[in-house]
Amino acid sequence: QKNGISNGTLYKKTFIEHFEQAPMYVAVFTFVGFAVGTIFGYLRDFMRAWGLEKRNIAAEREQQKDFVPLYQDFENFYTRNLYLRIRDNWNRPICSVPGPQFDLMERVTDDYNWTFRFTGRTIRNVINMGSYNYLGFAETDVNALKTVTIELKKYGTGVCSTRQEMGTLDKHVELEKLVAKFLGVEDAMVFGMGFATNSMNIPALVGKGCLILSDELNHTSLVLGARLSGATIRIFKHNNMQSLEKLLRDAIIHGQPRTHRAWRKIIILVEGIYSMEGSIVRLPEIVSLKNKYKAYLYLDEAHSIGAVGATGRGVVEYFGMSPDDVDVLMGTFTKSFGAAGGYIAGKKGLVDFLRTHSHSAVYATSMCPAVAEQIIRAMKCLMGLDGTTQGLQRVRQLEKNTRYFRRKLHEMGFIIYGNDDSPVVPLLLYMPGKIGAFARRMLEKNIGVVVVGFPATPITESRARFCVSAAHTREMLDTVLNALDELGDFLHLKYSRYSKSSHPELYEE
């Protein structure tokens, strides 16, 4: 029982987010880079069209040249000319568990990234800064996986049925009860795939005549689910409560577009942590808005469950709110639990409705029992039900690692986006030439990073995204930070104008 909020605001602790803008010359240089790339793209396309260069892309057969074209050459201009040049930084096959370190298969290209071949060597112990392994549950330790092996021997691997036919195992029931207990809600339902949880369940909850207010930077699964449902979709600016309130007011005042009838349902789709920005949703404000305007809230905690919050229970706990405030709690087990699948939790009525009406329940195969056991053991570890404090230690370690990593990157002078407490750290690179150079040089130093460019991010803001894990030791983080320091000086990436001097210890003596 609390006496009340001390200073009367919605936020119980400080909410610090940075989205620093780089100096103007950076944007100019980025455009110069893209312009040069585009000119050379046109040149290469011209040479390919006139037969001066070998064509490696898909083309129609000779007999079908008069038909309606199957492959529109210009549409994948960007893919063919810019993405292809740095394609070797993506889709790298790994051959070990994606823990804090992993092994890569070495891949070389003879014809500038059109084809790859494996040399047969593996690069060992590459530090993993790209996997969503926030609590470090992706491990191969035999003691940890004891129950999983028992269940694997008991059930095998295939379920061979959907939830509504013969695919509901006692493992699923046990897991659902555990998820509901973990989150503090009445009931939960688990699905085999996280993406499918969003895209198959939003159409079951909303339909024509409903309004969906979705954040600008929502994940593709939410966008797909919203489009499949057939409801009207309106977008509000990223994490911008004034924009959301304006949309809500317009919706209630004007109603549906032609008939001006009231909307059947208004639902707000947000994510807990946005994976490209590292920002955390402003949950207290959204909940107060939703209560005022009588809308529903769908919270996608894919990256935040297990990763934020005092005991790892997600953004609801991070802001000190009760799970009753959110109508539909959705999350995935891929990121923090080292498994696969997703869940939807909330009131019993909602979950019972989804059990009968969700597309995923009717047509999709249910979760594999060994994977369900992995989630059960990870969740029990987190809740402390296995008799140790290992779960809480992992959450604390993640928090410490996140704070250390972010603080050091800030001090060094890089531009980092996002909230100070989020384990997703996007480091801005801006120029297309630097994307390839950064990823390749980091691999030479035995560090694996994920770089993201144009279609997934705005065209001027390409970035490298680091995912801090509880399994990273201080030494690993220091190795990465030293490598980043060196590379930042060499590639001139330290654009931040707010940082202190990059090596303060030199000046204190």
């Binding site: 040069v36 050379f40 040049r85 740095i86 500038y112 120029m431 030439g433 390839g436 590639l491």
Partner: protein, 80 residues
């Protein structure tokens, strides 16, 4: 010592140029094309600057000389 550090600084500047203009990503023949085009453009720019500046400088110098030699006549001519 100074030469080596300045050379490495120049090399670093060249790397920055390569990264900014995406010539780091180009195949060797594309790089050749791009650099020769850039050098040609730079050469033309320098030549134009040289001609232009030299012309302006010489005409300004002539004006100055005429001003100094005949102060009153040429001053009136200039003002008119």
């Amino acid at each position: 010592m100074d030469v080596r550090s300045s050379l490495s600084y120049l090399y670093w500047l060249f790397c920055q140029f390569e990264l900014i203009t995406c010539s780091y990503l180009m195949e060797p023949w594309e790089k050749l094309l791009f650099y020769s085009f850039n050098l040609a453009l730079l050469g033309l720019l320098l030549y134009t600057t040289y001609v232009c500046v030299a012309l302006q400088a010489s005409s300004a110098f002539q004006l100055l000389c005429s001003l100094l030699a005949n102060p009153q006549d040429s001053a009136l001519a200039v003002v008119k």
